[in-house]
């Protein structure tokens, strides 16, 4: 199962075809089990709180992606407008492995000062998929 998933995602990275947000949930769940054997699933409520929290630092996800992830956002530093983050409002979100990895890597570092856990990524994606 894991091999099939990895092969599918590699094909995505090579630009063969787009992935879906559900595929990323599967990937994050696989990784979360590796990080924590007691992993018991993702929570939209937890994801929503996490999305809005500044985690004791300067920025939250909402600082740039907008408090409502179905709305357009605006970068807190440069003011540049950006398309909505919620897949319901912007079907391009969570369809490319390279982009998802790049932005989680950068943004988790900017917001949290560390990489995000698979649990955090899965929780926030679960929340984003509830936004209509």
């Amino acid at each position: 199962m894991r091999l099939i998933l990895a092969a599918t995602l590699l094909a995505t990275a090579a630009g063969v075809r787009a992935e879906t947000p559900a595929d990323f949930l599967t990937l994050f769940a696989t990784q979360a089990k590796q990080e924590n054997p007691a992993f018991s699933g993702f929570s939209a409520d937890q994801g929503q709180r996490w999305y809005a929290s500044t985690h004791g630092r300067e920025w939250s996800c909402a600082s740039c992606h907008a408090r409502n992830p179905a709305a357009r956002g605006e970068r807190a530093d440069t003011g540049k407008s950006m398309a909505p983050l919620a897949p319901a409002a912007n079907p391009e979100r969570f369809t490319r492995l390279d982009k998802v990895e790049k932005w989680f890597k950068r943004n988790c570092n900017d917001v949290l000062g560390r990489p995000c856990t698979a649990q955090e990524k899965g929780d926030v994606l679960t929340y984003l998929l509830t936004v209509r």
Partner: protein, 168 residues
Amino acid sequence: MILPLSRHHATSLGAILVLVASGGVADERIRPLNHPAWQQECGACHVAYPPQLLSAPSWRAIMNGLDQHFGTDARLDPHAHADILRFLVQNAGRGKTPVRGQPPLRITETRWFIHEHSEELPAWIWKRSDVKSPANCTACHTAADRGDYSERTLRLPKGFSKPYHAED
């Protein structure tokens, strides 16, 4: 035959002088460039700033510090990093004087930018809510995201129009 030729030269010289006086020359150094990785990666967070506006040492210093890029993490994968650095260096401005021995990291701190903007515009214009900062080129240069900084596409913010000193 000599006289008409001289007159022709005189006309050409006049045209050049008019062009210099109108300020059109400064815009010509910024020519639209096509490089998809530069457009996509740099342009994701801000206007993909024209490579001509900084020197090669400046671009190398900027690309060496993408993990702390003006307060944010802007790391690139190695392939995109090499590709974009090569493009920036190949199209970099030439003959820039380093400030205090260090290559400038901000276009807004180069003599050229200050000359083109600060001498014509009041300082408060950068603080308006619809401008935010001198880094936000598209606030006035409406086609900056396409590499077009010409006078034709320049729109100063509402309530601020030429002559520049109207509200001084």
